[in-house]
Symmetry: C2
Subunit: 318 residues, 2 copies
């Protein structure tokens, strides 16, 4: 593992991911100093109060100035603008590594690259980790442990810089994989973006029914629905940007999903029990692979404990 | 709470739900004797070995004979045939309560009612509880705690029998709600059946991609996909029967889901960021209701712990 220590790490954006990087980097002794900037003064204040950053700034160039590692932890849609702002202020240090944590990669590479001066190493990245919670208070040092981080360096990226950033993520607890931005966007479209879209969608479909009310959806959600609501609780701005910036792959995967769903729908309509049974059996196999790979727990029902006190509400009868 | 004790409880089918009822009823002192029958001799043997049933039988009439509570815990599709078999053997005791645990209610009421003799009280039921695991080994006494059980008695059901069955479920730890079979099927279509169908579907869509392989789907599943795989690991036979027997409500909800998804897809295609943001924000509210109602945990990421040792596999680049 290469040396993974940086003298000054600048976090541009201090939400769930930025603050978790700060906690994990500090714990692993990877940072001389950690500084950051955020869109609102309240977030900067919270990050300072919680000891997430040593110094907090109102603007990205102030945080980035003098940093040897700059991590863009903003929504995907503004990464290009932030890089431009830092560059125009002349705040990129020679030899610095610039990376990001965005959930799409082709668009970010396209948006950010024009604003990276010679002698600065831009290596786009994406830790596949997160929770449904947002903000600097939500971060914790263990977030990246045993999760994968994908780096998508372009062919002219400096090999030493890539090795150092790879080592940095490994010290945070992650496994690192290198792939092209385009392949990343395809993989994430199916493993993350379309699942989120579907989850947002079914929650809204449930919310608009006339003959089943919200209280009933809530009370009887343990039948499966609640599993979808966890990821549907994720940050709306982040996700808007993901879909607008990975349009091609998302629309392709969504087309396949809808095609497959239409076939299932047809099998239900025409009582094709054998088809249903076969397709449902196939789906079990992949679940087993995920558990064996340590990417989920096999505790029944995710190991949820029975909780206290549901509300009492009367449903309509129809 | 009425007296909820039975002298002989017969479980027809001893899988996750049947065995959990046995554990919970025994713990609460609700049963003189618990007996059961299962489709295979191996399941009967396991249930006896684990102390789930006091007596095990090869056929439903043998188990049902002399029981004052008979619970059909088989897949939905065979409930009618099982009731017929018990009735034709003359094995229903006068005054007995017959119930079931199936995930659809109208079809079961239609299928079972013709085979219930006078003096036997058939009250269809559905505990909204479960895990992705199957079989007698999967059962546990706490499964029903703080979960809802829906009973769908018809208008001519005996009030005392309904009160006793309600008390039984309350002693197992559940909250009980009474509604019509038709309303039940509508509520469950959106809170359980369509979510399962979508989960099965996306897992299969992911499995059929040419340019993203299964190992990649598994490795990067922490981005959201894995949440869907838990419910897609559920028993295929049970779910085939659910869809074939709740066709009308499932197809209606699926139509709405697809309509809403098409609108989201269109918003992505035409860069309608405000529409996406608004719809994603709406979805958060319902999640909060589910947590407040004690039907899910607000531990980030369901409180999953980082687990050990993922496989190493090389992905294709494209």
């Amino acid at each position: 593992m290469s040396n993974a220590r940086f003298e000054r790490i600048a976090l541009i954006g201090i939400g769930l991911i930025g603050s978790s990087i700060a906690h994990a980097a500090r714990r692993a002794g990877l940072a001389g100093q950690i500084v950051g900037s955020a869109r609102t003064a309240a977030t900067v204040r919270t990050a300072l109060d919680l000891g997430i950053v040593d110094e907090g700034y109102a603007t990205a160039p102030e945080a980035a100035r003098g940093a040897d590692l700059i991590i863009l932890c903003t929504p995907v849609g503004i990464c290009g603008a932030v890089a431009k702002e830092i560059n125009e202020a002349g705040a990129f240090a020679q030899g610095a590594i610039l990376t990001d944590v965005g959930s799409v990669k082709s668009a970010i590479v396209d948006d950010v690259t024009p604003h990276v001066p010679d002698g600065v190493h831009f290596i786009a990245g994406h830790p596949i980790a997160g929770t449904e919670q947002s903000g600097p208070e939500a971060g914790f040092a263990e977030l990246f442990e045993n999760r994968w981080c994908i780096l998508t360096p372009t062919q002219d990226c400096d090999a030493d810089a890539v090795a150092k950033l790879k080592a940095f993520w490994e010290h945070l607890g992650s496994h690192v994989e290198i792939m092209t931005p385009r392949h990343h966007d395809r993989v994430l479209a199916i493993t993350s973006h379309v699942p989120h879209l579907i989850a947002f969608n079914i929650v809204n479909t449930a919310g608009h029914l006339e003959r089943v009310n919200d209280q009933e959806v809530i009370k009887f959600s343990a039948g499966g629905f609640r599993d979808f609501t966890r990821i549907a609780a994720s940050d709306p701005t982040m996700w808007r940007d993901v879909f607008l910036n990975n349009k091609e792959a998302v629309l392709e995967m969504l087309g396949r999903f809808t095609e497959d769903l239409t076939a299932l729908q047809r099998a239900i309509r025409y009582d094709e029990g054998d088809t249903l049974h076969r397709l449902f059996s196939d789906a079990r196999t992949l679940r087993q692979g995920i558990i064996e790979a340590g990417q989920d727990t096999d505790a029944p029902d995710f190991g949820r404990q029975a909780a206290a006190g549901p509300e009492k509400a009367e449903p309509p009868e129809d």
